[in-house]
């Protein structure tokens, strides 16, 4: 029962006939109330007054709260009713409606990879990372940073070094990356990771697969180090398992293979460590966990090591060459960020 708000009446009075309302001194505007003076019009025909036309803020908020409460109640009743009907029908009940999510509504991407696609398989058997997957080469990773790194970045480097087995950390002493690469090649490194730093925080990562492999440039955000994660146990030297989630497009496949090529082939299951690269809406979430199977339906996860998110900025064929390199994919903000449902990885 809604009464038109008046300054002196208690709002819970039952609704009177409209003619009587007209005589009451109304101080606020009630333009939206239809005045049918002759007959007592049923209350359902009169639209309730607009709450936003109440000038007094306190009373306006109260009316709004009431309205919301009522709406919520109606919604709950409707839901209950639907549920009852569905149960009553049993098997004949209409199927549950699936809510629309951004992942559901994703724009169709023609580069989505079908796992049995022969062309893709053929390509992948002959791409730069193929030598890792055929077990011809073992991964050996060189981790470095930009010049003069700050404490956060050095700690991040150390943690990465712990997380990735068979990795070595070198400090950049003002060397050009193009000069670092031949040195690394001579020492038989398979990958270079360069963490770029800005304002005392790591903000970019360059992942270069070495014997003329692709170079991927990522933006790093939300870095949480081992010390910042509460009650994080220490990681051990065991080779972790690698989990790659949602790398579906052709580009995603390449990036996923690059990540996989960082870690040694045979994980040591006794260590029970798992490294995850989870792609969601073009953001790659990196996690490092120790797992424990409680029974065959439940797993317990304990987070170790660093946690950060990556966003791919560009993928370049060949080793690092920003001027003359051939870019396979570059993220152009104005062109590619126009649709909320279009993703590339």
């Amino acid at each position: 029962m809604t009464c038109p708000p008046t300054s002196w009446s208690i709002p819970n009075f039952p609704k009177m006939a409209t003619s009587k309302k007209k005589k009451m001194p109304v101080r606020e505007e009630t333009q939206d109330v239809e005045n049918d003076s002759a007959m007592a019009v049923p209350s359902s025909a009169i639209p309730p007054p607009n709450i936003s036309s109440i000038k007094n803020k306190m009373r306006r908020t109260q009316e709004f709260i009431k309205l919301k409460r009522q709406r919520r109640k109606e919604k709950k009743e409707l839901q209950k009713k639907k549920k009852r009907e569905a149960e009553a029908l049993g098997d004949e009940a209409p199927p549950k409606k699936v809510p629309r999510t951004i992942e559901n509504m994703r724009v169709f991407d023609e580069t989505m990879v079908d796992p049995q696609d022969e062309e893709v398989l053929h390509d992948e058997a002959h791409d730069e990372m193929a030598s890792y997957f055929t077990r011809d080469t073992r991964p050996k990773v060189l981790i470095t940073s930009s010049d003069r790194p700050r404490s956060t970045t050095t700690r991040f480097l150390k943690e990465l070094g712990q997380c990735i087995p068979n990795s070595e950390i070198y400090y950049r002493r003002g060397l050009d990356l193009k000069k670092v690469i031949p040195q690394a090649l001579s020492k038989e490194f398979t990958d270079i990771i360069v963490i770029n730093e800005d304002r005392r925080k790591p903000n970019g990562m360059l992942l270069c697969h070495l014997p003329d492999g692709p170079t991927a440039h990522f933006k790093i955000s939300n870095v949480k180090l081992h010390d910042e994660i509460k009650r994080a146990p220490k990681s051990t030297e065991h080779h972790p398992e690698v989990i790659l989630n949602n790398f579906n497009t052709r580009l995603g496949h390449t990036v996923g293979r690059m990540f996989a090529a960082l870690f040694p082939h045979d994980p040591q299951f006794s260590g029970r460590q798992a490294v995850t690269f989870h792609n969601q809406r073009d953001f790659i979430f990196f996690r490092h966990h120790r797992y424990l199977f409680k029974n065959n339906k439940r797993v317990g996860l304990n987070e170790l090591g660093p946690r950060f998110t990556l966003k791919l900025r560009s993928l370049q064929k060949g080793t690092f060459d920003s001027k003359f390199g051939e870019y396979e994919w570059v993220h152009k903000r104005h062109e590619m960020d126009t649709s909320r449902r279009k993703f590339f990885l």
Binding site: T101, H278, F283, N296
Partner: protein, 247 residues
């Protein structure tokens, strides 16, 4: 007519467009100024005999002005290219400014030294790695941060990891490490059943065979009478075990 003192008195006390005043210092913004400070001796307007050293695109020149050319502003400044060799250039300065006041000579040499030093530094810096500064758009960064948060919520990373690990367990990538594996357990159970069934079948067959044998060899055997159990056995009732009772 060139009256330096008059010019100076007008500029100094009146207005000079090249003068920049700060709380403690007066600077001269004139491009031909030797020291850059606003003084009677280093003002290029108030000195009819003046010299400077300036550099253009890495090449240093000695500029000189004399009172004879004061009437020809187009030809006022004499430009001498200085040698790339530091000592030779200093000698050139001394030669060209021979008989000039000591102040101007000294300041020219000092200025030249400073110029060569900063040119050296510039050349060294270009060889080192240059940091490329990329401008950030605040709006875009804010949007991306928000998108990341939403993506994190939608991702449910832990659940995805758990699912994946359980799938790997099911598929048996871990082998026999985890005894809890249902499939392994089931398999083991099945194996036991199979083996027990086969054993039971074998036993049955054996029994059948035995029975057959017995029937075939049906001979009358004379067996002793059952003897009553000795009292000694009954008295050892404590030592009875369940297995004995079952027998």
């Amino acid at each position: 007519m060139q009256h330096d003192d008059v010019i100076w008195s007008v500029i100094n006390k009146g207005f000079c467009s090249f003068k920049v005043k700060t709380k403690s210092q007066k600077f001269c913004r004139n491009e031909y100024s030797l020291t850059g400070l606003c003084n009677r001796g280093s003002c290029p307007l108030a000195n009819s005999q003046y010299a400077t050293v300036r550099e253009e695109k890495g090449v240093c020149f000695l500029y000189m002005k004399t009172i004879e050319r004061a009437a020809f502003p187009g030809r006022l400044w004499e430009k001498v290219k200085l040698s790339r060799n530091y000592e030779k250039a200093l000698q050139q300065i001394s030669e060209n400014l021979i008989y000039w006041p000591y102040f101007i000579r000294q300041k020219c040499k000092q200025r030249f030294t400073k110029i060569t030093q900063y040119l050296i530094r510039m050349r060294k810096l270009t060889l080192k790695q240059q940091k490329k500064l990329v401008p950030l758009s605040r709006k875009v960064e804010k949007r991306e941060r928000r998108k990341e948060q939403k993506a994190l919520v939608a991702a449910q990373v832990e659940n995805a990891i758990e699912k994946e690990l359980l799938e790997r367990l099911k598929q048996g990538t871990y082998g026999d490490i985890y005894n809890i594996s249902q499939t392994a357990f089931d398999k083991a159970l099945e194996e036991e059943e199979v083996s027990s069934e086969s054993e039971a079948e074998e036993e049955k067959e054996e029994e059948l065979e035995e029975e057959m044998e017995e029937e075939s060899e049906a001979e009358v055997e004379y067996v002793e009478d059952f003897e009553e159990s000795d009292i000694s056995d009954i008295e050892d009732g404590d030592k009875f075990s369940t297995t004995d009772l079952e027998r």
